[in-house]
Symmetry: C2
Subunit: 115 residues, 2 copies
DNA sequence: CCGAATCCTATACGATACTG
DNA sequence: CAGTATCGTATAGGATTCGG
């Protein structure tokens, strides 16, 4: 596989708005549907469900439903999902380290355009 | 910064369709505009220019124009851009390693839905 | 050769309402 | 509690054309 294909493939899975946030929310073990919705600020039911289905389909997340009253459904990372989280952590750390620098660059760039 | 914010911030820079591909294309030193367009398969002029401007603004890429005939413009990664490329490489490798596995999972998932 | 400007479309996403 | 269904919108991005 070429480098370009690798990047494209990765972005197809993780490039949307919520996928990485959902994976991040599952970092510490199984989480219930409602708990996910609370912990991921701003996500709608529609997108939470949709994102979870995508992740299930790719084998990154497993869904476990318990026949109880009230119903309980838990989602958890598979080994594959965990390995993606590890890989993504590097990028998250980079973003955290350089956030201020990038913001400063933007301010400088925009200021230069206005002259 | 929380983990959620870190993920969101990273995706705001790199989550679009072309950013990481452009950065990847600049891996081995300065590249001319037309050369970039050739090496990044499928990119339109509009998106190449737009993506380069974004990267310039964030300080990830520098633009060098030479007053020659014919005109020559070269783009290159800054140190910041190079550091992002390093962080992204981990994710590219992950995608390459697990591409087949994910495809197989999808086939299995879809087959199960059709029963 | 290196773009900018315009037009157009697909789709990702949010809001809302409803169900087992 | 854990979803599904429907609708409306915003925007990313492609195609095309024109300019320095």
């Amino acid at each position: 596989m070429t480098k370009g294909e690798g990047i494209r493939h990765m972005l197809d899975r993780a490039g949307d708005k919520w996928t990485l946030l959902v994976i991040g929310a599952l970092e510490h073990g199984p989480v219930r549907y409602t708990e996910l919705q609370r912990s991921i600020e701003g996500i709608s039911q529609r997108m939470l469900t949709h994102t979870l289905r995508q992740l299930q389909r790719d084998g990154l997340v497993v869904r476990d439903a318990y026949a109880e009253v009230p119903p309980r459904v838990e989602y958890a990372l598979t080994d594959l999902g965990t390995s993606l989280l590890d890989a993504v952590t590097v990028l998250i750390d980079w973003a955290g380290s350089h956030h201020d620098e990038i913001c400063a660059n933007r301010v400088g760039y925009d200021a230069a355009r206005e002259e």
